[in-house]
Symmetry: C2
């Protein structure tokens, strides 16, 4: 018998687990200091919740199953539907804006590829109940805040910001009929990953003429708000959306995140449900898939049976981010460390070793020891292997505290050491 | 449309999430200071892994599904099989003893009841590669250490410790034939939850005679190691197991966890795979299900295709523990707090507010603000609602820092405040 993990899932041995926790804790700290509160949903939901948001075709991308009562369930492929369900259930009692984050484990029945696994973790940050562009700005800011804490500068990553309503307006201005807007957006979303020739073919398949493709291309090339205003000839219809974008960039600049952000109208986001600004975080070289993506989705709560209420947010997965951090050499030394390794001078002193170990741990200090009797030399080697800062050598007449980095050693009475073990930190 | 969470699963709104995190962080801190390293496995595995450990009948208690290739998968109902799989895969390179812990999310297709849900979290602590009873003692110690940190004293909870080999020896001494040992253990495991009459019936169904039931009952009533030795008339066959138990209690006493622990031979543990000491943690009143359970399982790695290697550990779920902590009033005030709420004196100062908010957050301080322009009074109310320690009122000519508990207020220049915002903490 030879058991293996399922393809596309990961075993987190302690080395990998420390990296996962290091990323998750940076996400959590950034969320909390930005005023977001953590929530979570069950790992599985009724399948209907996911198909109501994304259509029946999503079912093929989920791990679905049936409970004993014959109801169709699925492991969550994203947490946004659950978030909308939870908020809808308490929409009248939750103070707004609802600023929530989560660190869910998600599963998708995909073919595993570089940067895309069947099981992953995704930081989700959302503001619900606020129509203000400030809510979009805050979501982008918290993403930048966390990326900065993880060691990624504005030279490493970029938040590329587009606009769903302006893209729709550009399609309309180019003469694309309303019923082709959805297919056109789906094709535009794929554009950055396609050759011009392949994109042209797909766009033609979606019903766009060459003239329309060229017109939308000019819109997408606008690299400043000024160029964008010119493209639309200061048309009233798009004024509010242009003003929103301008306020978004001004806000991010005022908050100190401007360096990380750029206008990029090629960012469209594939999902139908976006209604406002949209954005994706990429490494500057764009060699990897998107690190994060999000935007405004003002209709989702209503689609899931609630009221119409403003909502905006993003998801940042751990897989591409982990690859990027490793490639950029940003992962710190996370080897395990303990404060004390307790050593017995002779085997008869084992009860005293146990007393010391128990007392240190109860005092909140990390401590370990050998199960098997060994020479002091071998126990000191074990202490070094375990990453101990200090060894406590328990002798019949007291203890010796040895700093394992400097080699400095000091003798103390056992009772004195147990009363104030942390005092040993100042031994040098 | 009215979407709900699946029965037996939980939505973690921020209030519940803070309790879950508070418990998980106590588990994690206790694990780390006791020298354990964290690992995790995928949420689903090939079904075979679970049936290889627990038999085909486990399949009915799992959420199983099939991937596109037709392979049978299941959401993990426990993490021990995955742990054994992971350790077996690296058995020759992992330094022993392997002291690992995990905080997995687990799912079981059960009928939800008080203390038993379909989805829950379970702290798992295991030592692999050590035959010494010290490994069992360490697992029990870390459980006690965490329970103490959560505010549960030896008056609240008790680790009830039994012995699988001594129970098997008692059955044999009572004349129970070897082939009835398994069914007899299963019945004995249920005994504490049954009336004498119901237990008698079940035991008779399992093939035990009245004399055998009485003899095993006398064994289970032994409340000290001395009584236990008498029961076995100092028989050589059980000497090693009796010595193990004696050393276990002496170790727990030396480490300072003796008060929490008691001999209780009624603790048998239902699962076939235990091979040594077994234990369960109960509230002292025994009004609730077990808070935790575990023991030694020296054969599991071999059953799952690895070598024969000593292993011992326990699982502690969050559901019963959460009920107990709530009933005992041990849950602390976990309401969300932020350090600063930034207020605009007039709407034109919004860019300065954004600058202050961004600077505070980048300095690692938690800060929030209102999206909508409001009077200073309303913004101060919002600051109090958000649990802010201080308000920063941004004026045209500087900032006023207001301590919201004392009402004390101090004016500072904006630049000075941005250089050293934390200095405001010493304003009184």
């Amino acid at each position: 018998m030879d058991f293996k993990a399922v393809k596309g899932t990961r075993d987190f041995y302690p080395d990998q687990m420390r990296v996962r926790n290091w990323i998750a804790e940076a996400w959590r700290r950034a969320s909390l200091r930005n005023g977001f509160e953590e929530y979570d949903s069950p790992i599985f939901e009724y399948l209907d919740l996911f198909t109501a948001k994304s259509g029946q075709e999503i079912a093929g991308q989920l791990f679905g199953f049936t409970d004993r009562g014959g109801r169709r369930l699925a492991i969550r492929p994203e947490i946004t539907p659950s978030l909308a369900r939870m908020v809808n259930a308490r929409i009248n009692s939750l103070p707004r804006p609802i600023k929530w984050f989560s660190l869910p484990r998600l599963c998708r029945a995909e073919n595993p590829q570089r940067g895309r696994l069947r099981e992953f973790f995704q930081w989700n940050v959302d503001v619900i109940g606020a129509d203000s562009i400030l809510a979009d700005a805050e979501c982008i800011y918290v993403a930048v805040d966390a990326l900065g804490e993880l060691g990624l500068s504005a030279d490493d990553v970029c938040v590329r910001i587009g606009s769903r309503p302006l893209t729709v307006a550009a399609l309309r201005a180019a003469g694309v009929p309303a019923e082709l807007t959805g297919p056109a957006l789906a094709v535009l979303d794929k554009r950055p990953r396609l050759s011009d020739e392949d994109f042209g073919k797909l766009a033609a398949d979606a019903g766009l003429t060459e003239g329309q493709i060229a017109a939308v291309g000019r819109f997408q090339e606008a690299s400043s708000l000024g160029e964008l205003r010119s493209h639309f000839h200061d048309c009233d219809e798009v004024k509010a959306d242009l003003d929103d974008l301008a306020e978004l960039f001004a806000t991010l600049e005022a908050m100190g995140a401007g360096d990380y952000c750029a206008l990029d109208l090629r960012v469209v986001r594939g999902l139908a449900y976006y209604t406002g600004v949209v954005y994706e975080v990429f490494d500057r070289s764009q060699a990897l898939r998107a690190v994060a993506g999000g935007g405004r989705y003002d209709n989702l709560l209503e689609v899931l049976g609630g009221p119409k209420v403003g909502a905006t947010g993003f998801g940042m997965g751990d897989v591409v981010l982990g690859i990027l951090l490793a490639e950029k050499g940003k992962l710190p030394d996370l080897s395990p460390r303990i404060e004390y390794f307790v050593i017995e001078a002779t085997e008869e002193l084992r009860p005293k070793v146990l007393e010391v170990v128990g007392a240190l741990r109860r005092a909140g200090l990390s401590a370990d020891f050998n199960y098997r009797p060994q020479s002091i030399g071998k126990q000191l080697k074990a202490a070094n292997r375990r990453g101990a800062a200090r060894a406590v050598i328990v002798r019949a007449d007291g203890v010796s505290i040895k700093d394992l980095a400097s080699g400095a050693q000091r003798d103390r009475a056992l009772e004195e050491f147990l009363r104030a073990p942390a005092g040993a930190e100042h031994m040098q």
